[in-house]
Subunit: 313 residues, 2 copies
């Protein structure tokens, strides 16, 4: 048996599905992505996924397990997708058993943020920690929690939704009626909107595309004071939500990934400052604040790693 | 052997130390309380505790273990008190070993809020739950977390500090530099101060003693609109912090205790409403919101129960 048994990881995103063969922490082959909008419903997408997996297995013998991460709520024990946030027609789909029966392989299905957290915990920046909080900053803000050396999924497998935690009890009204949800301040779209408004206040008209996190990072690197102030504020808001997780869970490490984290020090420097000045000794001393080791591949690698662990490899 | 082995529980409060003999969930005998201000330092208080335990053991044979809960940070694995919030001279005290050597019994030392949570989890309102968040509302706001059927203490045993989590990233400056800490809104003293200010705004002068949580509960029961509005606001602020714990940990149950929770429905009704309207299905459905089963005795019972479990009973 290989030191690294092969598995297939499937990263089911809001717009496309990426399916790859994973060896350890590497994706060694990728099927062409599946655009979710090209298909009518869950059955059609699942059939397309099964074809992709089949194609990859023709090229790679010895696949041991298949893992899939989806953007929404999953009953991890039963492998049933309750609901996907941005894809229609995915209520109560027994995804794990459908894939497992079609593929004759052990399959795991979990939330995408849990897969990302699993990748970072087992193979990435959070490797070796027993108490870890991971956050993925993108269009949405997701997360995953490890406590006592175990993944915390909670009563109905929803744990880790740091993007839905509030940073202001009188704040913006969120998707679920929650006020002041972090995601409603530092999600991709909200960063752009708030930056556009900040420029507007300063008498500067900017297209919304020129206010994206990537554009805002570029502007800040070029010395733009408004962009710099926005990154400080983003760091401060993220620090509040992560500080709350620290007071509750006293982790050894925080891992921050996702597209918005690609701003690097522009985000991490104010984040670290705002966070550390709001924690006492046992919470602050020795706390590792780490950029994620994985980028876009986190979901695929994590889904595969999780499937292998669940299958006993 | 008894069905319920006897243990001694010690509840080390900010002003006094209560030491009792515990059988199951009952305190069957209590030593006279020790007033902490009557003693010069840690050594003297520990000597007085050892005398109290000795006196109780003369009256009760078969004590199997001794547990102590203290108001501050404790290294649970080594039994060392780092620091007590409101008692001087308690830095790096090897409390567990000092007691254990003097008493020739197994001793556990933990944070008082963890002892309270342990009592509720093993013997009280939270019995049988695998995923549980407990909060104790008093002068301070403490808490304890159970996930995957285990107590979560975190990297340095500080986990569960829900009173330090922020409900407003631009809010009041707290004890540790943290902005918007829940405790700075719904601690005993802050409730009284905010109520006094609310009366003042309405042109009513009230002594601060007449604004205590107990007085405010009495006033609300008598139809006082200002008092009722305060309880709604307290419920809303508590709901924000507990909602954050729900999004992070997806618990099956919340247990709320401590003096402020004695307001009963005045607190629980708005708390429940504000909480449930800010959670989605997997977090809200089936969530048990429970008043604590134990009152003042929680710390003593919990410390004893924890000591028994740690000693293998």
């Amino acid at each position: 048996m290989n030191e690294f048994p092969l598995a297939i990881g499937i990263d089911f995103g809001g717009t496309s599905v990426k399916t790859g063969v994973v060896c350890g922490s590497e994706i060694i082959d990728l099927a062409p992505p599946i655009a979710t909008q090209d298909f009518g419903g869950a059955d059609e997408i699942i059939a397309a996924i099964i074809r992709s997996v089949g194609d990859l297995r023709k090229r790679h013998g010895g696949i041991r397990a298949v893992g899939i991460g989806v953007p929404g709520f999953v009953d991890f024990e039963r492998g049933v997708v309750f609901d996907l946030t941005n894809v229609r027609g995915w209520a109560n789909i027994p995804l794990r058993d459908m894939l497992s029966q079609a593929l004759c392989l052990p399959v795991s299905a979990d939330n995408d943020a849990n897969c990302m957290a699993f990748a970072e915990w087992k193979l990435g920046a959070g490797k070796g920690y027993k108490h870890l909080v991971c956050a993925a900053l993108g269009t949405g803000v997701g997360g995953g929690i490890i406590a006592n050396g175990q993944m915390v999924r909670g009563a109905k497998f929803g744990a880790g939704e740091i993007g839905q935690t509030s940073i202001d009890f009188q704040g913006r009204a969120g998707h679920y009626g929650n006020l002041g949800a972090l995601e409603d301040y530092i999600g991709n779209r909200e960063i752009a909107r708030d930056a556009q408004a900040a420029y507007q206040t300063a008498g500067i008209t900017r297209d919304i595309e020129d206010c994206s996190p990537a554009a805002l990072a570029e502007a800040a690197k070029n010395g733009d004071a408004i962009a710099r102030a926005r990154w400080d504020e983003i760091g401060r808001m993220l620090a509040t939500a992560m500080m709350n997780a620290c007071w509750l869970l006293n982790p050894e490490a925080l891992v921050i990934g996702g597209g918005v984290a690609r701003a690097g020090d522009l985000l991490f420097t104010p984040f670290r400052e705002h966070l550390l000045r709001q924690l006492s000794g046992p919470f602050r001393d020795g706390l590792a604040i780490l950029p994620a080791a994985f980028g876009h591949e986190a979901g695929t690698v994590g889904a595969a790693a999780l499937a292998l662990e669940e299958a006993g490899f």
